[in-house]
């Protein structure tokens, strides 16, 4: 350390400079302290988010395994039923009455009109090409009275989605569209025709096997399906 200067003015200036340096070091220390505090907070928040995500994934995995087991058993039962029906059919084909009525069936085939009647439930909907994601997967066994399908979508041809619905065996359920999806927009960029691409549709899930079709109306006119799948609705075991 150097000796203090004799001149009071110089001494005051030196002390002031020292004070300023101390203040600056103190400020830097506090700024770093805040940054470390923020960093720790962020890490804690991130860890918490990861743990919650992990718990959610474990739950979904368990549900998926349960559904897989259920579907496997259903498939086995269907296989057994097919085998039984095939046996019955073979027996029928071998019977006297089947062989006796064979010429009549040939005549009926020759005079019957070509195409089968269209299925009930309005105009058939064509498939469309969409970029989409479903937050609540439809590929599951439905165990409640209703289910809400949530997700986001936009058609590849750039048209606006003006309505969404679920068609379950011809019965339609209108949904809400135009819901905010800021993370999707941040990831894929602005979608001028569909700035809020989120949607949700709640539909009834009566027991049995159904054809589920998630559909979007484009530009206020035609409907196109986004995804189609068979679904099984099973009431919860008591």
């Amino acid at each position: 350390m150097s000796a203090p200067p004799d001149d009071p003015g110089q001494r005051a200036a030196a002390l002031q400079a020292e004070l300023d340096a101390v203040k600056r070091r103190d400020a830097e220390f506090r700024a770093n302290m805040v940054k470390e505090f923020l960093d720790r907070g962020e890490r804690n928040t991130y860890l918490h988010t990861l743990r919650e995500e992990k718990a959610g994934l474990v739950k979904r995995e368990q549900e998926s395994f349960a559904d897989l087991e259920f579907l496997t058993r259903k498939l086995e039962a269907e296989g057994d039923r097919i085998a039984a029906l095939e046996g019955e059919l073979q027996g029928m084909w071998r019977s006297w009455s089947w062989r006796l009525t064979s010429p009549l069936r040939a005549l009926r085939r020759a005079f019957s009109p070509g195409a089968p009647a269209p299925a009930a439930g309005g105009e058939p909907v064509q498939g469309g090409v969409f970029t989409y994601y479903l937050h609540t997967a439809p590929f599951r066994v439905y165990r409640g009275d209703s289910f809400t399908l949530r997700g986001w979508a936009w058609p590849e041809d750039g048209r606006a989605i003006t309505a969404v619905r679920v068609n379950l065996d011809g019965r339609t359920f209108a949904g809400r569209h135009g819901l905010e999806e800021p993370e999707v927009i941040a990831r894929y960029g602005a979608q001028p025709a569909n700035p809020r691409p989120g949607f949700e549709v709640t539909f009834a899930t009566p027991p049995g096997r159904h054809l589920l079709s998630l559909e979007a109306q484009l530009g206020g006119s035609e409907w196109r399906w986004i995804v189609r799948t068979s679904v099984w609705c099973e009431p919860k075991a008591p």
Binding site: A27, V34, L38, P182
Partner: protein
């Protein structure tokens, strides 16, 4: 994009008054593109006017609470860092906090060449992300008009907590008893009840701001009449 385009898109991005407390949602919607964000937080879109208005505000800080190169400063509701960008040249470190991640993205673009700045997204009303006794100055400008009174006070209380002993707080709003303040009030009253936007500007009174600072524990509380027709309450956190 022209100012008229930005204005029209800003109008489209507004939420209704019922959402006023949902600050994150309201301000995320207004932060979708830089021009709309700039218009929403500063009333204009060009960089030169932003810089000029920020300079004016820094002069206000200098005359009301004082600035020192060794200051560690926190801005509550920093938006696109209109003030933070020039102010960071005059302090040791500038922290900008905002409830909107979208606003902070724009702020981050504007602060690329400012290593002594840090941006923090607030989870909700308050400064729970920050430690106590850390800052020399905490200020909040052109924000209180968009907050409910309870939330204004919450930020004053929180500012007191994070200030170091001897540090200063600054909070401004427009007053009801100025010509501008009354005009804003009357314009707001003309909205149909169901179409009042969530961010609609609401005045403060001198008494209100003074009470907030006094109740939060500040001393040397003063309410200043500023040349731009704002009022600002300032106070000091007592030394230990």
């Amino acid at each position: 994009m022209s100012a008229a385009d930005a204005n029209s898109r800003w109008m489209d991005s507004t939420s209704t008054l019922g959402d006023r407390s949902a600050y994150k949602k309201v301000w995320e919607r207004q932060a979708q593109d830089p021009d709309v964000a700039s218009l929403a937080v500063a009333g204009h879109t060009d960089e030169a006017t932003l810089e000029l208005s920020a300079r004016g505000f820094i002069d206000t800080l200098r005359t009301t609470v004082g600035l020192s190169p060794s200051d560690v400063i926190l801005e509550i509701g920093c938006g696109i860092a209109r003030v933070g960008r020039p102010l960071s040249r005059e302090c040791t470190h500038w922290f900008g906090a905002d409830i909107s991640a979208g606003m902070l993205r724009h702020a981050s673009d504007r602060l690329k060449d400012r290593p002594n700045t840090t941006l923090v997204e607030l989870a909700t009303v308050g400064l729970q992300e920050f430690p106590r006794d850390a800052f020399d100055l905490v200020y909040c400008t052109i924000v209180f008009m968009h907050l409910f009174e309870w939330d204004r006070y919450r930020y004053v209380e929180e500012a007191f907590r994070v200030l170091r002993p001897g540090g200063h707080g600054y909070f401004d709003n427009f007053p009801l008893d100025s010509k501008h303040g009354w005009n804003v009030f009357v314009e707001g009253s003309r909205y149909p009840l169901d179409r009042r936007p969530a961010h609609i500007s609401m005045a403060s009174t001198r008494e209100e701001l003074g009470i907030y600072l006094g109740k939060a524990g500040f001393v040397d509380v003063q309410v200043h009449d500023l040349p731009n027709e704002l009022i600002a309450a300032t106070g000091r956190k007592p030394d230990c």
